[in-house]
């Protein structure tokens, strides 16, 4: 051992004295080489030397160096009969051995021997090792054995303790391998064991098992209550060793209270009464003077108290106890111990959601606000923010929001973003007066602009657009806020957007005349990033429509070299196109194209989704309530979405007139395009895959009486129509009938350019009766959602008999995708509820741009894509007559160019094209070789991306 010490000393102090890292590594490598040579040497090492070297290896491991040998020596130590050797062997194994080591069989063997040895010390070592490693192989080997040891009558207490925890560990890692059985009832009875250490271990085990199998362990409730009762009412000396600083068995009490939190309040009135008595006693004891001034005494006592309060909150059934708990926590809020203040704030957060105690929690608002201002510890301030958020309701929202804003000015950077989200949510949720809401959000941007995420400012725009009573105020407020010489870019974005829509509402005031508004915005222009500038350009063109009197000023700006020749393609394109638009379009066309935004469909706030993502779902409280409240606040009075017939129903020629492509310029103020994607995102709520299409459609889905009281006829919910055949027809064409039954016909017309597209869906009512609550919804699966942006416009919920309504879907392909979106349609026809779903034929090949190339180019590129992953090939039987002209038409319809005279064999077809997505462009080559004799085809796709080759090959193979 002296040697160990000496070398350790060298390692420790050699490094401590400022020697370089290299010197340390050198020294350690030398030591490792020495140990390795000892292990490999001819001379057999005695047990003592083995132990010494294993110890050294552990120390080197502790210092952060890999140990890649010595495992075998450690395993050998396990089978030693000497306790010290066995012990160090087990230590090495449990610190260093991976669960998937090949040695695991040897280790298991040694463990098996020790378990069978009936030597309690050896059994203990073996059980500790199983608990510490806890691998699947160990579970396989011992999960059957350990319950027997645990419940055997002659097992020593210390072994029982270890066995209980060992079983718990195995259950955690491989629950499927731990069979429930006879032993479970006997384990429950360990709660009555004499030895409190055994009871503690057993309680841990039962708590975990009961969470998964509540029925099997139901009897533990009454046993736990009586055990708890005996501890709580005992004098502090009764439990001898398990009394910790005058508190009887605090850990066991905590564990028992945790176990009870797995179950609802006990049904048996006697048990329930006894539990209530225990909880009251614990609350009473908190008021007694402390039996010791030591912090350990109060810690232990309060650990039990907090757990009791958790149980009271969990049961949420005894108003009396809840209010007492709340008062107790209120006392802790002002305690001098920081730990207690922290825990009190945390517990109160859960208490705030109980209807019995919500009011009681609210009485502490001043204390909590004070904590926010005076606590030195950021963890505690964070808890205070959480609690304020949880206790907020209509009565105190203004105060809480004001205090949070106040705090935000000095808040720690690490929690600013979260506070911003919380303020934004509370302001929206409890806004009675929307001018207050607008003020609050603008304040947020002013105080913490960098922490205001896109979701927050999108949301304020959505709300302003949906509520016409606040639009004038919003315009005035942003106009005033923009006067500040240095304002945050987010404010410029919100300001630009709102003035572009509603600047006319304040233009009557000479202080905010059109020209002044324009000059104000333009003064910020050059300080902003590209996306903001792009947004401002859209504002300018909207001004052209709103204020014809400043059209020439705006045209001059657009015409300037810094715009028309801007190095950024997006800005340049906007400038050129807007300038053209303002020059050649008539006032009518301008008014149509640049019309005010239609209201946004209501949906769950994207901010809430963001907060949930940030904090994990459990931590955002009363979501349901928020949802409910919001829909009554916002939806209740919001105007039903007005569908602008002229803009929506005809594929107006003005859209393509300017060569803007399929970009949905009509009706959506700033044209979405690649770098303008921040605007696209305003529409597409990333958190909800379902974009409701009809006004109030949320309610239609949610309303339970609709689903239950209506007879669901014809199509039971969620049958996706097996229109695969029809679906495949649309792969090579863009127009046609997608679906038809006795009631409804769905027709499609679509156009695609580069990564954008637009689809018109025509819903024809074939009957003579009205369809009511007609709600079409386009659903993207979770996989599809990130790849495909779909925006839909609402349709009228009533479809008259014999009438046809039309709906536009704007499509943006973000990246390549496999699945197709689903179109779900719900409506009521003659008192019955109809629900049907069809696949919407938006497929990857729609984003093809054909590419012409020479034979030489084609084969050169073909060779470049020779990586096996880039090629996908399919050989299949012809389903249709093999007609060369039809095949050519299909390949062209598929989207690629058909290259003539490229393939040496004239019977073969080759094609080339580029798939455009927002993120990348993917070059694709294809070759189709028909074999007329065999009536077979061989189709080969080569692209730079495997998934694309795969998908295109699938789609095209179905066509022949």
């Amino acid at each position: 051992m002296i040697q160990t010490e000496a070398s350790c000393c060298r390692i420790i102090f050699g490094m401590g004295k400022g020697k370089s890292k290299e010197a340390e590594i050198k020294r350690i490598n030398k030591e490792l080489a020495n140990i390795r040579s000892k292990f490999k040497g001819d001379k057999a090492l005695d047990g003592y030397s083995k132990k010494k070297y294993v110890c050294k290896l552990l120390f080197i491991f502790l210092l952060g160096h890999d140990i890649d040998f010595g495992h075998m020596e450690a395993v050998n130590l396990l089978s030693s009969n000497r306790y010290t050797e066995k012990q160090i062997g087990y230590l090495f194994i449990s610190v260093l051995v991976n669960s998937n080591s090949e040695l695991i069989r040897l280790i298991n063997n040694a463990i098996k021997n020790d378990l069978a040895s009936r030597n309690p010390t050896f059994m203990g070592l073996a059980l500790h090792c199983i608990a510490n490693v806890g691998s699947r192989e160990m579970a396989e080997a011992f999960a059957g054995e350990i319950p027997k040891i645990l419940v055997a009558g002659d097992t020593m207490d210390s072994v029982k303790q270890s066995a209980a925890l060992c079983l718990l560990r195995l259950y955690r890692t491989s629950p499927d391998l731990v069979p429930m059985g006879d032993w479970t009832s006997r384990v429950v009875h360990l709660l009555n064991d004499q030895h409190l250490g055994v009871v503690t271990a057993a309680t841990s085990l039962i708590t975990t098992l009961a969470q998964k199998n509540p029925e099997e362990f139901k009897t533990s409730v009454s046993l736990a209550v009586s055990r708890l009762s005996r501890i709580v009412t005992s004098a502090s000396t009764d439990l001898q060793d398990y009394t910790y600083y005058f508190v009887p068995a605090p850990w066991l009490s905590v564990k028992l209270l945790r176990l009870l939190q797995c179950y609802p309040p006990p049904e048996d009135p006697a048990v329930r009464g006894r539990l209530t008595e225990c909880l009251e006693t614990i609350l009473n004891k908190a008021q007694e003077p402390p039996k010791s001034k030591k912090v350990q005494h109060s810690n232990a006592k309060n650990a039990v108290l907090f757990e009791a309060i958790s149980l009271i909150i969990h049961h949420d059934s005894e108003p009396n106890l809840l209010v007492r708990a709340c008062n107790q926590l209120g006392q802790f809020l002002q305690h001098r111990e920081t730990n207690l203040r922290y825990l009190a704030l945390e517990s109160m957060c859960t208490l705030a959601s109980s209807e019995f105690s919500h009011e009681a929690v609210k009485t502490h608002i001043e204390t909590v606000i004070n904590a926010l201002k005076t606590e030195r510890d950021v963890s505690v301030r964070q808890r205070a923010v959480d609690l304020l958020y949880a206790m907020c309701d209509r009565s105190n929202a203004q105060q809480i929001v004001a205090e949070m804003l106040n705090y935000l000015e000095t808040a720690d950077y690490s929690i600013r973003e979260e506070i911003v989200l919380k303020v934004a949510i509370l302001a929206e949720k409890y806004a009675v007066d929307y001018t207050w809401y607008v003020d609050t959000i603008l304040n947020l941007i002013r105080i913490a602009g960098d922490y205001v995420s896109e979701e927050v400012w999108y949301r304020v725009i959505q709300i302003v657009i949906n509520r016409d009573d606040v639009q004038g105020y919003a315009a005035k407020t942003v106009f005033e806020a923009l006067q500040a010489p240095a304002c945050h870019e987010n404010l410029v974005k919100v300001g630009g957007y709102i003035l572009g829509e509603f600047g006319n509402l304040i233009a009557g005031d000479p202080r905010s005349s059109p020209l002044i508004q324009f000059n104000l915005l333009h003064s910020k222009f050059h300080l902003c990033s590209v996306p903001t500038r792009a947004l401002l350009l859209s504002t300018y063109i909207k001004f052209v429509n709103l204020f014809p009197e400043i059209k020439t000023t705006i045209q001059d700006v657009l015409r300037s070299d810094s715009q028309l020749k801007n190095a950024d393609v997006e800005l340049q394109q906007r400038a050129v196109e807007y300038l053209r638009l303002s020059t050649i379009a008539s006032t009518d066309i301008l008014a149509t194209v640049l019309e005010e935004m239609p209201p946004f469909p209501e949906r769950e706030s994207s901010i809430l989704a963001k907060l949930k993502k940030k904090k994990g779902p459990g931590t955002v409280t009363d979501l349901e309530e928020i949802k409910k409240e919001r829909s009554s606040d916002m939806n209740g009075s919001a105007e039903p979405a007005s569908v602008n017939a002229s803009a929506v129903s005809t594929p107006s020629p003005s859209a393509d007139l300017l060569g803007l492509g399929a970009a949905p310029l009509t009706n959506s103020a700033p044209p979405p395009s690649s770098s303008g994607s921040l605007l696209v995102d305003v529409f597409s709520d990333s958190a909800s895959a379902v974009a409701p299409l009809a006004p109030g459609s949320d309610d239609n889905f949610a309303s339970p009486d609709l689903a239950s009281s209506e007879v669901v006829s014809e199509e039971p919910a969620d049958t996706v129509h097996d229109a695969d055949e029809l679906f495949h027809k649309f792969v090579c064409k863009n127009n046609g009938v997608l679906f038809e039954n006795q009631l409804l016909q769905i027709g499609l017309k679509s156009e695609f350019r580069q990564n954008l597209g637009r689809m018109f869906i025509f819903y024809g009512n074939k009957t003579s009766t009205q369809f009511l609550n007609f709600t079409p919804t386009v659903i993207c699966s979770d996989d599809l959602q990130p790849s495909l942006n779909l925006q839909t416009k609402p349709v009228d919920p009533t479809v008259d008999g014999g009438a046809q309504v039309q709906q536009v879907v704007n499509i943006e392909c973000v990246s390549d995708f496999m699945e197709a979106p689903i179109l779900n349609i719900q409506f009521r026809y003659g008192g019955t509820f109809q629900n049907l779903s069809v696949k919407l034929p938006i497929t990857l090949n729609k984003f093809f741009q054909p590419t012409e190339m020479s034979s030489q180019d084609f084969f050169q590129r073909w060779k470049q894509l020779s990586n096996p992953k880039q090629e996908v090939q399919n050989i299949f039987k012809a389903k249709h007559p093999m007609d060369a002209e039809i095949t050519k038409a299909k390949i062209i319809g598929f989207g690629s160019a058909l290259l003539e005279e490229v393939d040496p064999n004239p019977a073969n077809f080759v094609g080339a094209g580029i798939i455009h997505t927002k993120t990348t462009q993917i070059g694709c080559l294809l070759r189709l070789e028909p074999n007329l004799q065999a009536q077979m085809y061989r189709l080969t796709l080569r692209t730079s991306k495997e998934a694309v080759s795969q998908r295109l090959c699938e789609l095209l193979s179905e066509q022949f």
């Binding site: 250490g197 398990y242 945790r258 810690n299 232990a300 505690v380």
Partner: protein, 194 residues
């Protein structure tokens, strides 16, 4: 469940590391470093709990720590453990170390790494609390020492001689005795180090 027990000194050098979930060695070292940075920048007398963010796999985990003279004792636990309970458990662990080593100091953790592990093993196994009764823990450790002595004869006296030899060398960075705060443990030779 307790996910990890970490002890490091004021310079961030690990002195005892025990993970109860399988992590690659690099990840372990990274966690030790990050935990050290989180804990080190906190003032004395503020709360002993902190959320460790994504460090140990999610918001469910907390670091609960105590600082004794030159050493930080950090337990990383999930939400199934009582914060104050763990805080007391750290105290029990340290008091036990103090009893077993008679006035424990940082060097004891270095030179008796194996023994420290064995003591920890009597308190926590597989991430679960095994025993909280200090007398029982000490009794177990003493029984082990007896077994060791029986097997090794006089050799086991050597480490303690080495420790006292090093303790008396005048090193600039000599690890100080652990100050256990206000508990009643006799601290006979404290003066020469403090």
């Amino acid at each position: 469940m307790i996910n990890a027990v970490l002890v490091f000194n004021n310079h961030g050098k690990p002195r005892l590391v025990r993970f109860y979930q399988h992590l690659a060695e690099e990840v372990q070292q990274q966690l030790i470093r990050e935990t050290f940075h989180l804990v080190l920048k906190r003032d004395e007398h503020i709360c002993n709990f902190l959320e460790c963010g994504s460090l140990f796999g999610g918001a469910d985990y907390k670091l609960i720590y105590r600082h004794y003279a030159t050493l930080y004792f950090v337990f990383c636990v999930d939400s199934s453990e009582s914060e104050l309970g763990i805080l007391d458990l750290i105290q029990v662990f340290v008091e036990t170390l103090d009893k077993c080593f008679e006035n424990v100091c940082e060097l004891d953790l270095i030179f008796h790494m194996d023994k420290v592990h064995y003591i920890l093993q009597e308190v926590v196994i597989g991430g679960m609390v095994l025993e909280t009764n200090m007398n029982k823990i000490v009794a177990q450790v003493e029984a082990q020492s007896k077994l060791e002595k029986a097997e090794q004869g006089g050799l086991s006296a050597a480490p303690s001689r080495a420790v006292s030899a090093v303790k008396n060398i005048n090193l600039p960075e000599i690890p100080r005795n652990i100050n256990i705060g206000d508990i009643n443990i006799k601290v006979p030779s404290l003066s020469q180090f403090m």
